[in-house]
C-alpha cells in the first residue's frame, strides 16, 4: 500500500480523479437542484383553486381579481411565469413574496431560520453525545442484557411519535411539575429585552451568552438553555436512536476485521483497541448517517415547533400551509431541498476523500 502512495505519478492521477469526481458530483447537484425547483414550481402551479381569489378575500369583483392577478403576475401564461420566476431566482435571488404579508419570502424565512437551526443543532449534539456512546457500549457488550436493553430502547425511540413525546414531556415537566415553561424560546418577560440588545444574531444562545459576558447578567442565557431542553430532547430522540443503531452495527462490523485482531495480538488493552482503533473507523459510516439526518431534523421541526410554540420555520410553514400561502411553502420546500442536496454532496465528497474506492466506482 505504501509503495503505491509514494509514487508521484499515481498521486497526481489520484488527485485528478478526485477533482473529476468532485466536479461531476457538483454538476449533478446543480442539475438536481434545477430539477427540484422546476418540479416544485409545476406542482404548485397545478394547485387546485385560484390564488387570486384567496388573495382578494371574500367578495371578489372582476376588476379586483384582474388587478391582483396583474400585481402577482398570475395573468401571464404559466411558461412565462416560470421564466420570470427563474430569472428572479437566479439574478436577484428572489423567490417571491408572501401572499399573507406581502414581504419577500426569504426575509420571512430568514427571520425564523435561526430559531430552527439553533434547536436542530442542539438536538443533533444531544443525539450524538448520547447515541454514539450507547452504540459503542452496546457493541462492546454484544449479546448482554445491556446490549439488548439499549437496542430495544433505540427501537422504541425510532417508533415513537415525537409530537407525542413532546406533549408528554411538556405535560409532565412543564404543566405538572412546573420545572420548565414549556413554550417559546425564552421567558416571555425577557424576550423583548434580549431582542433589543445591540448584539443581535437571533441565535438566542449566542446573544444571551454575549449578554452574559458583557453585562454579567446570566438570567437570559439560563432561561434560553432551560427552554431548549424539552424541545431539544423531543427532536433528538429519533436521530439519537438511529445513530446508536448505526454506531453499534458498524462497530461490530469493524471488530471482525484483521487489524483489530492484530492490535489485540500485539497485547493492546481491549479498551484501547475499542476506543482508539475500532471507534475511529466505525465513526465514518455514522457520520454519513448524521449528515443525512439533518434534513430529517428540519422536517421533524415542524412537529416539535408546533407543540412548543417555537417561533421557527417549522411552525411558520405549518401556518402557511393552513393559510394556503403558496409562495412561502414553495420557497421553504426549495430551500430545504437545496440544503439537503448540498449536504449530501459534501457528505459524498468527504466520503470519497476518506475512501478512495468510491471515486473509482463512480467512474465506471
Amino acid at each position: 500500500m505504501n509503495k503505491i502512495k509514494e509514487s508521484p505519478a499515481l498521486i497526481s492521477n489520484d488527485f485528478q480523479n478526485f477533482v473529476k469526481f468532485m466536479a461531476k458530483r457538483f454538476l449533478r447537484s446543480i442539475i438536481v437542484i434545477l430539477g427540484i425547483i422546476t418540479i416544485v414550481f409545476i406542482l404548485f402551479r397545478i394547485l387546485p383553486g385560484d390564488p387570486a381569489r384567496d388573495l382578494v378575500g371574500k367578495f371578489p369583483t372582476a376588476e379586483r381579481l384582474a388587478a391582483v392577478r396583474e400585481i402577482w403576475g398570475l395573468d401571464k401564461p404559466v411558461w412565462d411565469q416560470y421564466i420570470i420566476f427563474m430569472q428572479k431566482l437566479i439574478f436577484e435571488f428572489d423567490i417571491g413574496m408572501s401572499y399573507d404579508t406581502s414581504t419577500p419570502v426569504l426575509h420571512e424565512l430568514g427571520l425564523r431560520f435561526p430559531a430552527t437551526i439553533e434547536l436542530a443543532l442542539v438536538s443533533m449534539m444531544l443525539a450524538i453525545m448520547v447515541g454514539i456512546p450507547i452504540g459503542i457500549i452496546s457493541a462492546y457488550k454484544q449479546h448482554t442484557r445491556t446490549d439488548y436493553l439499549s437496542m430495544i430502547l433505540a427501537l422504541v425511540g425510532v417508533s415513537m411519535p415525537i409530537y407525542w413525546l413532546g406533549l408528554m414531556l411538556q405535560g409532565v415537566f412543564a404543566r405538572d411539575l412546573g420545572w420548565f415553561i414549556g413554550t417559546g424560546r425564552i421567558e416571555p418577560v425577557l424576550s423583548s429585552e434580549l431582542n433589543l440588545y445591540p448584539f443581535h444574531t437571533n441565535f438566542y444562545l449566542i446573544d444571551s451568552f454575549v449578554m452574559g459576558i458583557v453585562e454579567g447578567n446570566w438570567v437570559f442565557f439560563i432561561s434560553t438553555v432551560e427552554n431548549l431542553i424539552l424541545p431539544g430532547i423531543a427532536l433528538a430522540t429519533i436521530p439519537m436512536a438511529v445513530i446508536a443503531r448505526m454506531m453499534r452495527s458498524s462497530m461490530i462490523e469493524e471488530m471482525r476485521k484483521d487489524y483489530v485482531r492484530t492490535a489485540r495480538s500485539k497485547g493492546l488493552r481491549e479498551r484501547l483497541v475499542i476506543l482508539k482503533h475500532v471507534t475511529k473507523n466505525a465513526l465514518i459510516p455514522t457520520i454519513t448517517v448524521i449528515g443525512l439526518n439533518f434534513g430529517a431534523l428540519l422536517g421533524g421541526a415542524v412537529l416539535t415547533e408546533t407543540i412548543f410554540s417555537w417561533p421557527g420555520v417549522g411552525k411558520y410553514i405549518w401556518l402557511s400551509i393552513t393559510q394556503r400561502d403558496t409562495p412561502v411553502i414553495m420557497g421553504f420546500v426549495m430551500i430545504v431541498a437545496i440544503i439537503f442536496v448540498f449536504a449530501n454532496m459534501i457528505t459524498d465528497i468527504i466520503y470519497a476523500y476518506l475512501d478512495p474506492r468510491v471515486r473509482y466506482y463512480e467512474r465506471d
Binding site: I152, L155, V158, S159, P161, L167, R175, I321, I338
Partner: protein
C-alpha cells in the same frame, strides 16, 4: 458491461429456440420452487427462534384482531343497531358518561373532552392506521419496484433519468414532501396516505435497482437471455423473486413508518379530519386538555408506539433471518 441488455429481437427468430426455451424454463422453474421452498423454510425457522421478533408479530396480530373487531362492530351496528362494543367510537356522552373520566372498569382508557370512550376509539383507530399504513406502502412498493426494475435492468440513459428523479424526491425531508403534497392537493386521510406513499417510492426503487444491478450480471439471467426469454419475463420471473426477500423486510419496516407519518400528518390537522377516530388526530384533540386528563394524549400515543414498534421488530427479525450477518 452495462450494454449487455437489449438484443432480444435477434433471439426471437428461430421457432426451435423458442420451443426449447419453454421446456427448459418449466424445468428450471420447478427447481426454483423447490429451492425457494427450502430457503423460506430455513428463514422461517430462523425467524421463529427470534423471540423479540415473535413478540412483535404477536402485537401485530393483536392490532389486526382489533381492526377486525371494529369492522365486525360496524357491520353488526348497521344490521342490528347494536355492535360488539357498548359504545360507538363517536358516541358523545355515551350512557351518561361525562367528560374527562379517568380510566375505570366502565371506560378502560377513560373518556375524552366530549365523553367519548377512548378505548373504543383506539380500537377503531387500529383499523384506520393498519389500513392506511398498508395501502401507503402498497403505493410506494409497486411504483418503487417498477421504477427500480426498469432502471436497474436497462441501465444507461433510462437509469440516469430515473435515478435523477429519485434523487430529487429524496432531496426532501420525508414529512416536508408529504406536507407539500398535501398543501397542493388538500388535506384528507386519503391524500395523506397517497402523499406518504409517494414520499417513500425512491427508497424502494433504490433498493430494487441496487439488487437488480447485482442480479442481472449473474449467470442465470444470462442463460435465460440466451434461451430467448423476453425482458418482461426475465424481470418478473427471474429477477423479481430474488429481490423479494429484501422487499419483504422493507415492507414491514415501511408500514411502521407509514403509520407514524400518517398519524403525524393527522396530528397537524392535514390528514384524518375530526371526528374520525384516528390516533394522530386523537392526540391533537387531547393536547389542550392536559390538566383535565393526560390520558387523552397518553393512550393514543402508546397505541401508535406499539403498532410501529411491532412492525419494526418484525422487520428487524426478518432482516436477521434473511441475512444471518445481521444476527446479534
Amino acid at each position: 458491461m452495462s450494454n449487455l441488455t437489449d438484443s432480444d429481437p435477434e433471439k426471437d427468430n428461430g421457432p426451435v429456440e423458442i420451443k426449447q426455451n419453454v421446456d427448459h424454463d418449466s424445468v428450471q422453474s420447478d427447481l426454483e420452487t423447490i429451492s425457494e421452498a427450502t430457503t423460506w423454510w430455513i428463514i422461517l425457522r430462523r425467524f421463529r427462534k427470534n423471540q423479540v421478533a415473535l413478540l412483535g408479530l404477536g402485537f401485530l396480530g393483536f392490532f389486526a384482531f382489533l381492526a377486525i373487531l371494529s369492522y365486525l362492530d360496524t357491520i353488526l351496528t348497521l344490521i342490528f343497531g347494536q355492535g360488539i362494543f357498548p359504545y360507538g367510537p363517536n358516541e358523545i356522552f355515551a350512557n351518561g358518561a361525562s367528560s374527562f373520566e379517568p380510566p375505570s372498569l366502565e371506560h378502560i382508557f377513560g373518556t375524552d373532552n366530549v365523553g367519548r370512550d377512548i378505548f373504543i376509539r383506539i380500537i377503531y383507530g387500529a383499523r384506520i392506521s393498519m389500513t392506511v399504513g398498508f395501502l401507503a406502502v402498497l403505493v410506494s412498493l409497486s411504483a418503487g419496484t417498477f421504477l427500480g426494475l426498469i432502471a436497474g435492468y436497462y441501465g444507461g440513459v433510462i437509469d440516469s433519468i430515473i435515478s435523477m428523479i429519485l434523487e430529487m424526491l429524496l432531496a426532501f425531508p420525508s414529512i416536508l414532501l408529504a406536507l407539500a403534497i398535501l398543501a397542493i392537493f388538500g388535506s384528507s386521510l386519503t391524500n395523506a396516505m397517497i402523499a406518504v406513499g409517494i414520499v417513500y417510492i425512491p427508497y424502494y426503487a433504490r433498493i430494487v435497482r441496487g439488487q437488480v444491478f447485482v442480479e442481472r450480471e449473474l449467470m442465470y439471467v444470462e442463460s435465460a437471455k440466451v434461451l430467448g426469454a423476453k425482458t418482461p419475463r426475465i424481470l418478473m420471473k427471474h429477477i423479481l423473486p430474488n429481490v423479494f426477500g429484501v422487499l419483504i423486510i422493507y415492507t414491514s419496516l415501511g408500514i411502521g413508518t407509514a403509520i407514524l407519518e400518517v398519524a403525524a400528518l393527522s396530528f397537524l390537522g392535514l390528514g384524518a379530519l375530526p371526528p374520525t377516530a384516528e390516533w394522530g388526530s386523537m392526540i391533537a384533540d387531547g393536547r389542550y386538555y392536559w390538566l383535565s386528563g393526560p390520558h387523552l394524549v397518553f393512550f393514543p400515543g402508546i397505541a401508535i408506539l406499539l403498532a410501529v414498534l411491532s412492525f419494526n421488530l418484525v422487520g428487524d427479525g426478518l432482516r436477521e433471518a434473511l441475512d444471518p450477518r445481521f444476527k446479534r
